[in-house]
Every structure is written in structure tokens, then in C-alpha cells.
């Protein structure tokens, strides 16, 4: 977005390194979520184990991004768009780390579900997964490309995800009443749904941070109107 280079080359390098680490963390988080959900849909415990193992690397990247961000604040005292980029990158990493935690929880629930015959109700989760992942990818894309319009458009989509989650939970609770033997399985699916709903919340946070980074506008806690 800002084509001019800083007079201090080391400042450019530090900002580029911070951005690369955020991108790498976003990539790993996306992979971890995909592995966890594939582990659930394809009943593959290895993929679940991989998703859980990814979390360690993502945690380390969060710490690295925080450290790099603080170093940049300390050494270069960034202002204006540079300051917003650094602050947003640090907030982004925190959201990504929590998303990866959701992937870990999903993977653990999936391993439990995989120990029993597959529940057809797992398909209730698929639209939520697709919606959450699309929000996630768009929010990160918006941040990377500093695309304010795309970022704003992500925010209202969280409502759809919440609706999908509510509908799925309602159906699963009905099934529990009809078939108490599968109670644990349905409960695990409800938890997976809740994790995806939280992924949507974090994607919304990232989109809001993307708007702040690119346009210096704080659109948090303003309802859907602010994002349109």
C-alpha cells in the first residue's frame, strides 16, 4: 500500500519480517483447522494428531511476533500507518493463536468421535466449517492486501455463522432427546460447532483490525451498520 521505502532499510526489513511471520502463522492456522476438520469428516486420527501438533509451532510464532512487534516499537518508534500495522499485526497473532486453539479442541473432539460409528449429523457441521473458513481466509486476505472493503464485508457474515450454529445445536439437542445412547457424540458435535463459531468471531476481529490498519478506523462494537 505504501510503495515508498523507509530511509532506514533495517526498519523496512523489520516490518517485512513481522508481516512474513504473521502470514506464516495464518497459513499454519488455516492448515491446522483444515486438518482437524478433515480428521473429523474423514475419521482420520493422524490428521487430528497433526492438527494438535501444529499448535506448538503457532504458539511459538505468536511469541515471536509479539517480541518483534515490541522490538519495532522500541527501536523505530513507528507512527501513522507503520504504527497501525505493527499494533494490528500483534493483535492478529493473538487471534490466530486462539483460532489454532479451536483447531486443537476440534481435533480432540474428532478423535473421540472417531472411536464410535460415524454420526450422520456430522454433516450439520460442514456448512459452518465452510462459512467459517471463508470468513477466515477473507479476513487475512483483507489484512494482507489492506483491502478495507473486503474487511468490512467480513464482519456481518459472522451473523450467518451464529445462525448456522444455533440451528445445528438445536437439531443436535433434539437428537439427544431422541437417542440418548449417542449423547456424548452429539455433545462433541455441539462443541465442534461452538469452536467454529469462535473461529468466525476471531475472523471478525481480524477483519476489524484490518480496517484499522488500512484506514485508521475503529469499527469494533458498532454493530453491523459500521461495517457497511
Amino acid at each position: 500500500m505504501t510503495p515508498h521505502r523507509h530511509i532506514l532499510g533495517t526498519f523496512d526489513e523489520a516490518l517485512a519480517s513481522l508481516r512474513n511471520n504473521v502470514l506464516m502463522m495464518a497459513g499454519l492456522t488455516e492448515r491446522s483447522l483444515e486438518r482437524a476438520m478433515k480428521g473429523l469428516f474423514e475419521r482420520n486420527d493422524d490428521l487430528c494428531a497433526n492438527a494438535i501438533a501444529d499448535d506448538e509451532e503457532i504458539d511459538q510464532l505468536e511469541k515471536q511476533i509479539d517480541k518483534d512487534g515490541v522490538d519495532i516499537l522500541l527501536r523505530f518508534q513507528p507512527v501513522a500507518s507503520d504504527l497501525r500495522r505493527v499494533v494490528s499485526a500483534m493483535k492478529l497473532s493473538s487471534n490466530l493463536e486462539r483460532m489454532a486453539d479451536q483447531a486443537t479442541t476440534i481435533a480432540r473432539r474428532a478423535r473421540k468421535l472417531n472411536q464410535h460409528p460415524q454420526l450422520p449429523e456430522v454433516e450439520l457441521i460442514r456448512p459452518m466449517y465452510e462459512h467459517a473458513m471463508s470468513m477466515f481466509k477473507d479476513s487475512v486476505d483483507a489484512f494482507v492486501r489492506e483491502d478495507v472493503d473486503l474487511a468490512r464485508a467480513v464482519v456481518p457474515r459472522d451473523q450467518t455463522l451464529d445462525d448456522l450454529n444455533r440451528a445445528a445445536s438445536r437439531t443436535l439437542i433434539e437428537r439427544m432427546a431422541q437417542d440418548p445412547d449417542q449423547l456424548r457424540g452429539y455433545l462433541n458435535l455441539i462443541f465442534v460447532g461452538r469452536c467454529l463459531e469462535r473461529v468466525g468471531d476471531h475472523a471478525t476481529n481480524i477483519a476489524e483490525d484490518a480496517v484499522y490498519a488500512a484506514a485508521a478506523e475503529d469499527i469494533r462494537h458498532q454493530g453491523v451498520a459500521a461495517s457497511t
Binding site: 523507509h6 530511509i7 532506514l8 518508534q77 507512527v79 501513522a80 500507518s81 497501525r84 485508521a216
Partner: protein, 282 residues
């Protein structure tokens, strides 16, 4: 266990909640301004140093002027007390009003202007042959003040305001040049304050000082703005961010952007301002 519902609510919380429920306040009126500069242009011979600058300097606030070397910062500052007239072949167009009074009107004495608008320079310049005390009150003496009681009172008041009294009160007879660099700069501020100006202009007042002395001057500037309007030129971007309420960015003699410092340093309107403050210029 405390029953949260029964507990007496924290009054600050109640106030915050009530305030949040109130309709949004109407925008604050524009602050009172000490200087109104309109279409100011300055030439040194054929060279145009300031190009059509219009700007209001807010009262009892710190205005920082930033910009690369040669952009006209110091020239603009000097126009506010007609100090630039000391440079030969200088020509000025436009108007500068101080509290509604045209500084460039033919019936205005530049010496009076400089008494109303004090100035502190980059390098501290105490008079080398004078004591600390004499340095402070020399302006009053030159203005004909003879009462020793009055001079003593003003001496202490000025040194206190410049946060130097406690450090020099027992050494007032010593040479001004015997002080450290930071103390000398505060002495010069005390000297400027002694004649009770309305405005204090500062031209990079900390650029020759170490970080501790700089911090003291910055703290002093913050305290002085309760009584004075302050305009300061600085090359130190962080200093502008720390001490000023308003920031003006000059480039090639033109005022590129002027606004609240928080706005300039978080989201400037102009690309040139952004490039300069983020270190992308050139």
C-alpha cells in the same frame, strides 16, 4: 461473598455509564488562537522561503513545527516576532495577527513585538559576562526597571517557572556560563519569561542537550503551556509527538498539513506528511 447487585456502585462507573447513555456531545468549538497568520510569504532576496502560509496558533497550547532542513520552519517561527527582519534583504507579504493586532502594521515597534513574543534558541546563549541573576533580569533592566525588590521577585519567579530555582538559588552571583548545557537553556527560558511575554517561541530548544536535560525542558514546556502559548520548531519527531498539541508540517516553504498532533501522528491526511514522519522522505 460480596453480593454484586447489592454493592454500592462505583461512582466513576455510574458516571461513565450515564455519560455513555447521553447523546453524543456537539463538536468542540475551535480553540482560541493567539496568532492568526494569513497568506504569509517571505523572501530572502529572490529566494522564497515561505509560500502562502495560513495558520492559526492556538492559545495555551504547544504547536510544533516539523519538516526537513530548509523547509522554512525557523523562518516561519521568526516571522512570529519579526526576528527575521534582522536578516538583510528580507521581504514579507501577508499578515500576522497577535491577539487580533497586526504585527506588521507600520506603527508597531518590532522591539515591543519581541518583548511580547519571547524566543529561545537552539544553542543556549547566556550573556557570558553576566551572572545567573543578571542574565535573568537584564531584559527588565533594559526596559528601565530599577526597583531591586521587583527585580528580585521577578528573578525568583522566572527561575521557578523555568524549573531552575532550586538548582541555582545559592549561586545567583556565579557566571551564567558556569552552568551545564541543560541549565543554561533553562536559564535562557527564565530570561525570556522574566519580561512576561505572551508567547514563547522555541527553535529546537533541546537539540544540543542530553536526554535528561531534554526531558526537563520537555516537562517545563508542558507546564508552561498553562500560562503561555508555545510554538516550537523541532527535528525530533518523537519530541513533537510527546510535547505538542498541534503539529504543522512544512515542506519547501509550504504548509503541507496542520492539525492536532494525535491526528498527524496516527493518520495524517497528506501523503507527504505520512512519508516524512514515517521516515520515507527523499
Amino acid at each position: 461473598m460480596v453480593n454484586l447487585l447489592m454493592a454500592t456502585p462505583d461512582p466513576t462507573v455510574v458516571e461513565r455509564v450515564e455519560r455513555a447513555a447521553e447523546p453524543a456531545p456537539t463538536p468542540e468549538p475551535a480553540p482560541a488562537s493567539t496568532f492568526q497568520v494569513k497568506n504569509l510569504s517571505v523572501w530572502y532576496g529572490d529566494k522564497r522561503a515561505i509560500d502562502d502560509v495560513t495558520l492559526d496558533v492556538a492559545s495555551n497550547a504547544v504547536t510544533a513545527i516539523i519538516g526537513p532542513s530548509g523547509c522554512g520552519k525557523s523562518t516561519f517561527l521568526r516571522c512570529l516576532n519579526r526576528m527575521h527582519e534582522l536578516v538583510p534583504k528580507t521581504r514579507v507579504e501577508g499578515t500576522v495577527f497577535l491577539q487580533g493586532e497586526d504585527l506588521y502594521s507600520s506603527d508597531v515597534d518590532p522591539a515591543i513585538v519581541r518583548r511580547r513574543v519571547g524566543m529561545v534558541f537552539q544553542k543556549s546563549n547566556p550573556f557570558p559576562t553576566m551572572s545567573i541573576g543578571e542574565n535573568v533580569v537584564i531584559g527588565l533592566r533594559l526596559n528601565g526597571v530599577r526597583s531591586q525588590k521587583f527585580l528580585n521577585e521577578r528573578l525568583e519567579k522566572s527561575l521557578r517557572m523555568a524549573a531552575l530555582w532550586d538548582e541555582v538559588k545559592d549561586d545567583l552571583h556565579k557566571a551564567g556560563t558556569s552552568l551545564s548545557g541543560g541549565q543554561q537553556q533553562r536559564l535562557c527560558i527564565a530570561r525570556a519569561l522574566a519580561v512576561e511575554p505572551e508567547v514563547l517561541l522555541m527553535d529546537e530548544p533541546c537539540s544540543a542537550l542530553d536526554p535528561i536535560a531534554t526531558a526537563k525542558i520537555e516537562e517545563l514546556i508542558y507546564e508552561l503551556k498553562a500560562h503561555y502559548t508555545i510554538v516550537t520548531v523541532t527535528h525530533n519527531m518523537q519530541q513533537a509527538g510527546r510535547i505538542s498539541d498541534y503539529t504543522a508540517f512544512f515542506y519547501l516553504g509550504r504548509l503541507i498539513e496542520f492539525g492536532p498532533t494525535t491526528k498527524i501522528f496516527t493518520n495524517p491526511n497528506e501523503r507527504q506528511t505520512e512519508d516524512y514522519i514515517t521516515g520515507r522522505f527523499g
